[in-house]
Symmetry: D2
Subunit: 138 residues, 4 copies
C-alpha cells in the first residue's frame, strides 16, 4: 500500500563530515511527494501549481534520523497515507539505504489556494485517490 521511489545521495547532499546534511533530506522528501502526487494522485506539480493554482505546503513535520546516509548511496523513500482531512493529508515516510533505515517521520500537507494563500478543501479527484491509498494506523 506504500508508495516507493528511489533517489541517490549526491555530492551536493553531503556535508564536511561526509554524511547527508539533513536539510537536503527534505529536498529529497519533497521530490518523493512530487512523484507521489504525479503517480498516485494523478496530478503532477506543474499542473497543480501552474494550471490548477494550488500548492501543497508542509505545515507539520517530525523526523527521527536513525543513521546517516553516505555519498553515492541509493535511497528508497517510502510514503504512507495516515489520514486525510478536509484540506490536509498526513503522510508517514521512511528512507532506507544500504540495507538500513536512515530516517523516518511524519508530515502534514495542506491544500492551499496559491492566489489567496489559504487552505482550501482537496479537489474531489485528489481526495478520491488519497482515500483509496489510505493505510490504517495499527
Amino acid at each position: 500500500m506504500a508508495f516507493e521511489t528511489t533517489t541517490e545521495v549526491r555530492f551536493a547532499h553531503v556535508d564536511a563530515a561526509g554524511i547527508v546534511f539533513y536539510p537536503r533530506c527534505f529536498e529529497m522528501l519533497n521530490a518523493a511527494v512530487e512523484d507521489w502526487c504525479a503517480d498516485e494522485l494523478g496530478v503532477d506539480f506543474r499542473t497543480m501549481h501552474a494550471d490548477r493554482r494550488i500548492g501543497v505546503p508542509t505545515v507539520k513535520l517530525s523526523v527521527e534520523f536513525a543513521s546517516p546516509g553516505m555519498l553515492g548511496e541509493r535511497l528508497t523513500i517510502s510514503l504512507h497515507i495516515r489520514h486525510v482531512g478536509r484540506s490536509s493529508c498526513q503522510l508517514g515516510f521512511a528512507f532506507a539505504g544500504d540495507g538500513r533505515e536512515r530516517l523516518k517521520g511524519e508530515l502534514v500537507l495542506v491544500c492551499m489556494d496559491i492566489e489567496g494563500k489559504k487552505a482550501v478543501p482537496w479537489p474531489d479527484d485528489m481526495r478520491a485517490r488519497m482515500t483509496e491509498g489510505l493505510v490504517p494506523t495499527l
Copy 2:
C-alpha cells in the same frame, strides 16, 4: 535566556508559490545553530569540525509551520536549550517575521566523533556553557 539571531528570506529560499520552500528553513536553522555554537558555546563550526573533529548532527526534529515567510522578510530565529544529556542536547526554536510567528519546533543534536561516526560525550567546556544556558521547561 534565549539566543537570537537574524537572517533574511532570499530569492534562493522561495518557491514557485512565492513563499519559503520549507527545506530552506532548515538551512537557516542550521546557520542559527552555528551562530549559537560560536557565540554561546564558544566553539565555532570550523574549529569544531576541522580541529576538534566533532560534529553535531541533528537526530530528531519536529516543526509546526504557522505561516509562510515571504521574499525579503527579515526573520528572527530564537533558540532555547531544553535539555542537556550525556551526548545530546534538545533545543526549542522559533522563527518570527513581519510581526508573526512563522514556525516553531524542537530538535535534538548529538555530539559525534567524526572519525568514528558515533556519539561521544560533550566536551566539558561545551557542556558547561550549555548547562548555564538551560531554560527550564514550564
Copy 3:
C-alpha cells in the same frame, strides 16, 4: 564605484572536501545581486517580482575560481557594472575572503517580463541608476 556586500561561509555551503561547493557561490552571488538591486537600483526583489512583475534572470556567466573558501570565512562580494544594454546589464563580480581573492567573473542579467517570460527594456528608474553606477572598462 563598486558595490560591496558581505556574507559568511556556512556549513550548508561546504562539501565533503571541506571547501565551498561551487553551486553555493551562485546562491551567495544572487543574494549580492538582490542587495545591489535594493540598495543601488532602489528596487528590492520582492517589489520587483510581486508588484512590478519583472525578474532579472542571469543569461550568461563566466567564473574563475582562484582559491577555495573555507567554513566560517567572512566573504566580501563586490559588483561592478560593466555595460548597460536596452534590456540587459553586464556585471563584474569578485569574492574575497581571508585576505585572498576567492573567485571572480562576469554575468549578464536580463530584464524579463514574468507573465510573458520574455525580455523587456529596463524601467527608466532602474536604467537611470545603473547608468550612474557604470564602471568604464579599462
Copy 4:
C-alpha cells in the same frame, strides 16, 4: 562520443518566477559530472573522495542560458571532453529539455589532493579513460 545523463526539474529547483533558479543548474551539472566519473572514468565520487582522497573541484566555468527550464521538465545533460591536461580536464556541457537547448557551457575540473588541498596529476587510470573519450574541437 558524448556522455549523456538525464534529470528532472524539481520543485526545489524553480524560483518565484516559475523557472529554474540558475544555481540549481550547477547542482544538476555536478551530479552529471558524478555520473560521468562513475560510468566513464570508472571511479565514483565516494571512492574518489573517501578512499583515494582526491577531489575534482571546478576551477573555471562559463555558461550561456538559452531558455529557462520549467518545473517537471525532463532534462538531458550531455558532457564532452575538450582537453585533458596534466591535472586538469576541460568539459563542454549542454542541457536540453522539451526539445530545446536550455543552456550550454564549458568547465575546467582540476584533480586535487584533499589533504594538501593542491592540484596533483590525474591518476593513470582516470587519465587513460579521459583520453579515450576526448572529443576533437572543431
